[in-house]
Protein backbone atom coordinates (compact mmCIF):
# COMPACT_ATOMS: atom_id res chain seq x y z
CA UNK A 1 0.00 0.00 0.00
CA UNK A 2 1.47 3.35 -0.99
CA UNK A 3 1.47 6.06 1.67
CA UNK A 4 -0.58 9.16 0.93
CA UNK A 5 2.20 11.32 2.21
CA UNK A 6 5.94 11.29 2.26
CA UNK A 7 7.68 12.44 5.38
CA UNK A 8 10.95 10.62 5.61
CA UNK A 9 14.41 12.13 5.50
CA UNK A 10 14.90 14.71 2.80
CA UNK A 11 17.68 14.38 0.34
CA UNK A 12 18.81 17.85 -0.68
CA UNK A 13 18.87 21.41 0.70
CA UNK A 14 19.02 24.37 -1.67
CA UNK A 15 18.04 28.06 -1.65
CA UNK A 16 17.13 28.12 -5.32
CA UNK A 17 16.60 25.52 -8.00
CA UNK A 18 14.57 24.68 -11.08
CA UNK A 19 12.41 21.66 -11.83
CA UNK A 20 11.22 20.37 -15.16
CA UNK A 21 7.94 18.48 -14.77
CA UNK A 22 6.05 17.40 -17.90
CA UNK A 23 8.08 19.97 -19.86
CA UNK A 24 6.80 22.70 -17.56
CA UNK A 25 9.63 24.68 -16.00
CA UNK A 26 9.33 25.69 -12.35
CA UNK A 27 11.68 27.85 -10.29
CA UNK A 28 11.69 27.59 -6.50
CA UNK A 29 13.54 30.02 -4.26
CA UNK A 30 13.69 31.07 -0.63
CA UNK A 31 15.82 33.00 1.83
CA UNK A 32 15.98 29.79 3.85
CA UNK A 33 17.20 26.43 2.64
CA UNK A 34 14.49 24.36 1.01
CA UNK A 35 14.31 20.63 1.66
CA UNK A 36 13.67 18.77 -1.54
CA UNK A 37 12.11 15.33 -1.22
CA UNK A 38 13.74 12.40 -2.96
CA UNK A 39 10.98 12.09 -5.53
CA UNK A 40 11.81 15.50 -7.01
CA UNK A 41 15.57 15.00 -7.38
CA UNK A 42 15.44 13.49 -10.88
CA UNK A 43 13.33 16.44 -12.03
CA UNK A 44 15.97 19.09 -11.23
CA UNK A 45 16.92 21.09 -14.32
CA UNK A 46 19.06 24.03 -15.45
CA UNK A 47 16.29 25.82 -17.35
CA UNK A 48 16.44 29.62 -17.27
CA UNK A 49 12.98 30.39 -18.62
CA UNK A 50 10.22 29.42 -16.22
CA UNK A 51 6.52 28.80 -16.63
CA UNK A 52 5.97 29.25 -12.90
CA UNK A 53 7.96 30.68 -10.01
CA UNK A 54 7.50 29.60 -6.40
CA UNK A 55 8.65 31.79 -3.52
CA UNK A 56 8.91 29.85 -0.27
CA UNK A 57 8.64 31.19 3.27
CA UNK A 58 8.56 29.83 6.78
CA UNK A 59 4.96 29.93 8.06
CA UNK A 60 5.59 32.81 10.52
CA UNK A 61 3.94 35.33 8.19
CA UNK A 62 1.23 33.04 6.82
CA UNK A 63 -1.73 34.86 5.32
CA UNK A 64 -5.08 34.34 7.03
CA UNK A 65 -7.88 33.14 4.73
CA UNK A 66 -10.55 32.12 7.23
CA UNK A 67 -12.74 35.20 6.67
CA UNK A 68 -12.30 35.03 2.89
CA UNK A 69 -14.58 33.44 0.33
CA UNK A 70 -14.24 29.64 0.49
CA UNK A 71 -14.66 28.32 -3.07
CA UNK A 72 -13.46 24.72 -2.89
CA UNK A 73 -12.78 21.98 -0.37
CA UNK A 74 -10.87 18.84 -1.27
CA UNK A 75 -12.12 16.49 1.41
CA UNK A 76 -14.01 13.24 1.82
CA UNK A 77 -15.43 11.26 4.75
CA UNK A 78 -12.00 10.18 5.96
CA UNK A 79 -9.52 12.69 4.59
CA UNK A 80 -9.18 16.46 4.32
CA UNK A 81 -6.60 17.61 1.81
CA UNK A 82 -6.92 21.33 1.13
CA UNK A 83 -9.26 24.33 0.93
CA UNK A 84 -9.22 27.12 -1.66
CA UNK A 85 -10.29 30.71 -0.98
CA UNK A 86 -10.74 33.72 -3.22
CA UNK A 87 -8.04 36.04 -1.90
CA UNK A 88 -8.25 39.51 -3.45
CA UNK A 89 -7.68 38.70 -7.15
CA UNK A 90 -5.62 35.62 -6.32
CA UNK A 91 -6.39 32.17 -4.95
CA UNK A 92 -5.49 31.24 -1.39
CA UNK A 93 -4.76 27.62 -0.43
CA UNK A 94 -4.79 26.00 2.99
CA UNK A 95 -3.11 22.58 2.97
CA UNK A 96 -3.71 20.16 5.84
CA UNK A 97 -1.25 17.75 7.41
CA UNK A 98 -2.24 14.30 6.14
CA UNK A 99 -1.29 12.73 9.46
CA UNK A 100 -3.21 15.31 11.48
CA UNK A 101 -5.91 17.06 9.47
CA UNK A 102 -6.52 19.65 12.20
CA UNK A 103 -3.05 21.01 11.55
CA UNK A 104 -2.35 23.42 8.71
CA UNK A 105 0.78 22.25 6.93
CA UNK A 106 1.15 25.02 4.35
CA UNK A 107 -0.71 28.06 3.14
CA UNK A 108 -0.17 29.38 -0.36
CA UNK A 109 -1.19 32.20 -2.67
CA UNK A 110 -1.43 31.69 -6.42
CA UNK A 111 -1.32 34.88 -8.48
CA UNK A 112 -4.19 35.76 -10.80
CA UNK A 113 -2.17 34.85 -13.91
CA UNK A 114 -1.16 31.49 -12.31
CA UNK A 115 2.51 32.31 -12.88
CA UNK A 116 3.63 32.86 -9.30
CA UNK A 117 3.13 30.99 -6.03
CA UNK A 118 3.99 32.08 -2.53
CA UNK A 119 4.13 29.09 -0.19
CA UNK A 120 4.25 29.46 3.58
CA UNK A 121 5.34 26.15 5.03
CA UNK A 122 5.47 24.95 8.58
CA UNK A 123 8.97 23.64 9.33
CA UNK A 124 8.99 20.08 10.65
CA UNK A 125 10.20 19.12 14.11
CA UNK A 126 13.80 19.27 12.85
CA UNK A 127 13.31 22.76 11.42
CA UNK A 128 13.30 21.59 7.81
CA UNK A 129 11.29 23.70 5.35
CA UNK A 130 9.53 21.46 2.87
CA UNK A 131 7.15 23.61 0.78
CA UNK A 132 6.28 20.84 -1.70
CA UNK A 133 5.28 18.33 0.96
CA UNK A 134 2.22 16.30 -0.17
CA UNK A 135 -0.33 17.35 -1.27
CA UNK A 136 1.17 20.76 -2.14
CA UNK A 137 3.41 19.38 -4.90
CA UNK A 138 0.60 17.69 -6.87
CA UNK A 139 -1.60 20.80 -6.44
CA UNK A 140 1.11 22.91 -8.09
CA UNK A 141 1.39 20.38 -10.91
CA UNK A 142 -2.37 20.43 -11.41
CA UNK A 143 -2.43 24.22 -11.63
CA UNK A 144 0.32 24.07 -14.26
CA UNK A 145 -2.23 22.34 -16.49
CA UNK A 146 -5.32 24.50 -16.01
CA UNK A 147 -4.26 27.29 -18.35
CA UNK A 148 -2.46 25.01 -20.79
CA UNK A 149 -3.43 22.39 -23.31
CA UNK A 150 -3.01 19.72 -20.67
CA UNK A 151 -4.80 17.67 -18.03
CA UNK A 152 -3.71 15.73 -14.98
CA UNK A 153 -5.26 12.29 -14.67
CA UNK A 154 -5.39 9.40 -12.20
CA UNK A 155 -4.14 6.63 -14.45
CA UNK A 156 -1.29 4.31 -15.33
CA UNK A 157 0.58 4.42 -18.63
CA UNK A 158 2.80 1.96 -20.45
CA UNK A 159 5.00 2.52 -23.49
CA UNK A 160 6.11 -0.22 -25.90
CA UNK A 161 8.67 1.97 -27.67
CA UNK A 162 6.13 3.05 -30.25
CA UNK A 163 2.74 3.48 -28.59
CA UNK A 164 1.72 4.87 -25.22
CA UNK A 165 -1.37 3.36 -23.62
CA UNK A 166 -3.17 4.90 -20.65
CA UNK A 167 -5.28 2.80 -18.28
CA UNK A 168 -7.70 4.68 -16.06
CA UNK A 169 -10.62 3.77 -13.84
CA UNK A 170 -11.99 3.95 -10.34
CA UNK A 171 -9.85 3.04 -7.38
CA UNK A 172 -9.35 -0.74 -7.23
CA UNK A 173 -10.07 -1.40 -10.91
CA UNK A 174 -6.51 -2.54 -11.56
CA UNK A 175 -4.49 0.40 -12.91
CA UNK A 176 -1.29 -0.82 -11.25
CA UNK A 177 -2.10 -4.47 -11.98
CA UNK A 178 -2.55 -3.93 -15.70
CA UNK A 179 0.56 -1.76 -16.00
CA UNK A 180 2.53 -4.52 -14.23
CA UNK A 181 1.18 -7.07 -16.74
CA UNK A 182 2.29 -4.87 -19.65
CA UNK A 183 5.63 -4.31 -17.95
CA UNK A 184 6.18 -8.07 -17.81
CA UNK A 185 5.43 -8.10 -21.55
CA UNK A 186 8.35 -5.70 -22.13
CA UNK A 187 6.68 -2.31 -21.81
CA UNK A 188 8.09 0.65 -19.89
CA UNK A 189 5.78 1.86 -17.12
CA UNK A 190 5.57 5.66 -17.36
CA UNK A 191 3.73 5.75 -14.01
CA UNK A 192 0.96 3.75 -12.39
CA UNK A 193 -0.86 6.46 -10.48
CA UNK A 194 -0.74 10.05 -11.71
CA UNK A 195 0.06 11.43 -15.15
CA UNK A 196 0.00 14.67 -17.11
CA UNK A 197 -1.23 14.61 -20.72
CA UNK A 198 -0.10 17.49 -22.95
CA UNK A 199 -0.72 18.51 -26.52
CA UNK A 200 2.44 19.52 -28.36
CA UNK A 201 3.20 20.52 -31.95
CA UNK A 202 3.87 16.85 -32.70
CA UNK A 203 0.92 15.28 -30.94
CA UNK A 204 -0.26 14.23 -27.50
CA UNK A 205 2.27 13.08 -24.92
CA UNK A 206 2.06 11.51 -21.48
CA UNK A 207 4.44 12.42 -18.65
CA UNK A 208 5.08 11.09 -15.19
CA UNK A 209 5.29 13.50 -12.26
CA UNK A 210 7.35 13.36 -9.04
CA UNK A 211 6.07 10.74 -6.60
CA UNK A 212 7.06 9.87 -3.04
CA UNK A 213 9.77 7.59 -4.44
CA UNK A 214 12.59 8.40 -6.84
CA UNK A 215 11.93 7.84 -10.53
CA UNK A 216 13.37 9.42 -13.65
CA UNK A 217 11.28 11.81 -15.78
CA UNK A 218 9.49 9.84 -18.46
CA UNK A 219 7.55 10.81 -21.57
CA UNK A 220 5.66 8.78 -24.14
CA UNK A 221 3.48 9.53 -27.16
CA UNK A 222 -0.18 8.88 -26.37
CA UNK A 223 -2.04 6.51 -28.69
CA UNK A 224 -4.99 5.22 -26.71
CA UNK A 225 -6.86 5.49 -23.42
CA UNK A 226 -8.51 2.46 -21.82
CA UNK A 227 -11.24 2.80 -19.19
CA UNK A 228 -10.63 -0.40 -17.30
CA UNK A 229 -12.59 -2.71 -15.04
CA UNK A 230 -12.18 -6.30 -13.90
CA UNK A 231 -14.31 -8.69 -15.97
CA UNK A 232 -14.71 -12.49 -16.30
CA UNK A 233 -13.27 -12.28 -19.83
CA UNK A 234 -11.33 -9.75 -21.85
CA UNK A 235 -13.75 -7.42 -23.59
CA UNK A 236 -13.18 -4.18 -25.47
CA UNK A 237 -15.52 -1.50 -26.79
CA UNK A 238 -14.51 1.68 -28.59
CA UNK A 239 -16.11 4.89 -27.35
CA UNK A 240 -16.57 8.06 -29.33
CA UNK A 241 -18.06 11.53 -29.01
CA UNK A 242 -19.51 12.90 -25.80
CA UNK A 243 -19.38 9.55 -23.99
CA UNK A 244 -15.64 9.19 -24.63
CA UNK A 245 -14.94 12.77 -23.51
CA UNK A 246 -17.09 12.62 -20.37
CA UNK A 247 -15.76 9.23 -19.26
CA UNK A 248 -12.13 10.34 -19.54
CA UNK A 249 -12.91 13.67 -17.86
CA UNK A 250 -14.34 11.84 -14.85
CA UNK A 251 -10.84 10.55 -14.03
CA UNK A 252 -9.03 13.85 -14.53
CA UNK A 253 -8.01 15.79 -11.43
CA UNK A 254 -10.28 18.81 -11.31
CA UNK A 255 -11.17 21.79 -9.13
CA UNK A 256 -14.53 22.60 -10.67
CA UNK A 257 -15.36 25.80 -8.82
CA UNK A 258 -14.21 27.87 -11.79
CA UNK A 259 -16.08 27.87 -15.09
CA UNK A 260 -12.84 28.44 -17.01
CA UNK A 261 -11.17 25.32 -15.58
CA UNK A 262 -14.07 23.12 -16.68
CA UNK A 263 -14.23 24.69 -20.12
CA UNK A 264 -10.50 24.20 -20.62
CA UNK A 265 -10.72 20.50 -19.71
CA UNK A 266 -13.74 19.95 -21.95
CA UNK A 267 -12.09 21.71 -24.90
CA UNK A 268 -8.85 19.78 -24.41
CA UNK A 269 -10.49 16.35 -24.15
CA UNK A 270 -12.91 17.02 -27.01
CA UNK A 271 -9.96 17.77 -29.30
CA UNK A 272 -7.99 14.82 -27.89
CA UNK A 273 -10.82 12.37 -28.49
CA UNK A 274 -10.74 13.12 -32.22
CA UNK A 275 -7.14 11.85 -32.41
CA UNK A 276 -6.70 9.43 -29.52
CA UNK A 277 -8.75 6.22 -29.35
CA UNK A 278 -10.78 5.72 -26.18
CA UNK A 279 -11.93 2.22 -25.19
CA UNK A 280 -13.78 0.51 -22.39
CA UNK A 281 -11.74 -2.53 -21.45
CA UNK A 282 -12.97 -5.30 -19.18
CA UNK A 283 -9.97 -7.49 -18.43
CA UNK A 284 -8.81 -10.67 -16.80
CA UNK A 285 -5.72 -9.85 -14.70
CA UNK A 286 -3.19 -12.01 -16.52
CA UNK A 287 -1.00 -11.79 -19.62
CA UNK A 288 -3.90 -12.66 -21.95
CA UNK A 289 -5.05 -9.04 -21.85
CA UNK A 290 -1.91 -7.87 -23.69
CA UNK A 291 -2.49 -10.09 -26.73
CA UNK A 292 -6.19 -9.34 -26.59
CA UNK A 293 -5.64 -5.58 -26.75
CA UNK A 294 -3.00 -5.86 -29.47
CA UNK A 295 -5.41 -7.95 -31.55
CA UNK A 296 -8.50 -5.82 -30.99
CA UNK A 297 -7.43 -2.18 -30.76
CA UNK A 298 -8.09 -0.31 -33.96
CA UNK A 299 -5.08 2.03 -34.03
Amino acid sequence: MKPLWYNSSTALKLNQFSLNIADFSIKLYSESEIDLEEGYLSFLSNTQNHDTTIECFSDINSPIFENKNLVFEAANEIQKFYSIYKFKTDLGFVIYNQQNINEVQQTAILSKNFKHWQIFAKPDEKGNLNPLRYPMGPIIMQYLTVKSEAVMIHASCVFDGEKGRIFTGFSGTGKSTISQIWSEAGNQVINDDRLIIRKTDTGYFVYNTPMYYRDSPKKAPLNSIFLISHYPENKIKKLTGAIAVSKVLAFCIQNNFDRFFIQNNLDFLTALSTQIAVYELGFVPNSSVVDYVLSNETV
Partner: protein, 91 residues
Protein backbone atom coordinates in the same frame (compact mmCIF):
# COMPACT_ATOMS: atom_id res chain seq x y z
CA UNK B 1 -40.45 24.04 -12.05
CA UNK B 2 -40.79 27.45 -13.66
CA UNK B 3 -38.70 28.34 -16.68
CA UNK B 4 -36.88 31.05 -14.68
CA UNK B 5 -35.69 28.35 -12.30
CA UNK B 6 -34.49 26.19 -15.16
CA UNK B 7 -32.70 29.12 -16.73
CA UNK B 8 -31.04 29.89 -13.37
CA UNK B 9 -30.15 26.21 -12.96
CA UNK B 10 -28.31 26.30 -16.28
CA UNK B 11 -25.90 28.92 -14.95
CA UNK B 12 -24.61 26.35 -12.45
CA UNK B 13 -23.29 24.14 -15.25
CA UNK B 14 -20.69 24.38 -17.99
CA UNK B 15 -21.72 22.86 -21.31
CA UNK B 16 -19.69 21.60 -24.27
CA UNK B 17 -21.12 20.45 -27.55
CA UNK B 18 -19.59 17.26 -28.96
CA UNK B 19 -21.18 16.28 -32.26
CA UNK B 20 -24.94 16.11 -31.76
CA UNK B 21 -24.57 15.65 -28.03
CA UNK B 22 -23.85 17.90 -25.09
CA UNK B 23 -21.69 17.32 -22.03
CA UNK B 24 -22.68 19.30 -18.98
CA UNK B 25 -20.52 19.60 -15.90
CA UNK B 26 -21.76 21.16 -12.66
CA UNK B 27 -19.78 23.95 -11.03
CA UNK B 28 -18.80 22.45 -7.73
CA UNK B 29 -17.19 23.48 -4.48
CA UNK B 30 -15.94 20.06 -3.53
CA UNK B 31 -14.33 16.92 -4.90
CA UNK B 32 -17.31 14.65 -4.20
CA UNK B 33 -19.31 16.03 -7.12
CA UNK B 34 -16.51 15.79 -9.66
CA UNK B 35 -17.96 12.73 -11.34
CA UNK B 36 -21.43 14.23 -11.60
CA UNK B 37 -20.98 15.31 -15.20
CA UNK B 38 -23.31 13.77 -17.74
CA UNK B 39 -24.05 13.74 -21.43
CA UNK B 40 -27.27 14.83 -23.10
CA UNK B 41 -28.61 13.16 -26.20
CA UNK B 42 -30.33 15.05 -28.99
CA UNK B 43 -33.55 15.50 -26.98
CA UNK B 44 -31.73 16.62 -23.83
CA UNK B 45 -29.62 19.01 -25.85
CA UNK B 46 -32.78 20.43 -27.44
CA UNK B 47 -34.31 21.12 -24.00
CA UNK B 48 -31.05 22.65 -22.77
CA UNK B 49 -30.69 24.90 -25.84
CA UNK B 50 -34.27 26.12 -25.60
CA UNK B 51 -34.27 26.75 -21.86
CA UNK B 52 -33.95 30.51 -22.19
CA UNK B 53 -35.66 33.28 -20.28
CA UNK B 54 -37.86 33.88 -23.33
CA UNK B 55 -39.36 30.37 -23.39
CA UNK B 56 -41.87 28.92 -20.94
CA UNK B 57 -42.07 25.18 -20.23
CA UNK B 58 -45.14 25.10 -22.47
CA UNK B 59 -43.15 26.77 -25.25
CA UNK B 60 -40.49 24.06 -25.00
CA UNK B 61 -43.16 21.35 -25.04
CA UNK B 62 -44.55 22.87 -28.22
CA UNK B 63 -41.11 23.18 -29.82
CA UNK B 64 -40.41 19.53 -28.98
CA UNK B 65 -43.65 18.23 -30.47
CA UNK B 66 -42.93 20.29 -33.61
CA UNK B 67 -39.38 18.97 -33.88
CA UNK B 68 -39.59 15.36 -32.71
CA UNK B 69 -42.14 12.69 -33.37
CA UNK B 70 -43.61 12.82 -29.84
CA UNK B 71 -46.85 13.99 -28.21
CA UNK B 72 -47.02 16.79 -25.66
CA UNK B 73 -47.42 14.37 -22.73
CA UNK B 74 -44.16 12.61 -23.63
CA UNK B 75 -42.40 15.96 -24.17
CA UNK B 76 -43.53 17.20 -20.75
CA UNK B 77 -42.33 13.96 -19.16
CA UNK B 78 -38.93 14.30 -20.88
CA UNK B 79 -38.60 17.85 -19.56
CA UNK B 80 -39.54 16.80 -16.01
CA UNK B 81 -36.99 13.95 -16.09
CA UNK B 82 -34.36 16.32 -17.42
CA UNK B 83 -35.02 18.90 -14.69
CA UNK B 84 -34.94 16.25 -11.97
CA UNK B 85 -31.58 15.02 -13.21
CA UNK B 86 -30.12 18.53 -13.20
CA UNK B 87 -31.40 19.22 -9.69
CA UNK B 88 -30.15 15.87 -8.38
CA UNK B 89 -26.69 16.56 -9.76
CA UNK B 90 -26.46 19.77 -7.78
CA UNK B 91 -27.52 18.22 -4.46
Amino acid sequence: MEIQSLYKLKTKFVAREVGNELIIVPLSGNVAQMNALFTLNETGKFIWDNATDNNSIEDIVMLMTDTFDIDSQTAKKDIDTFLQKLETTLV
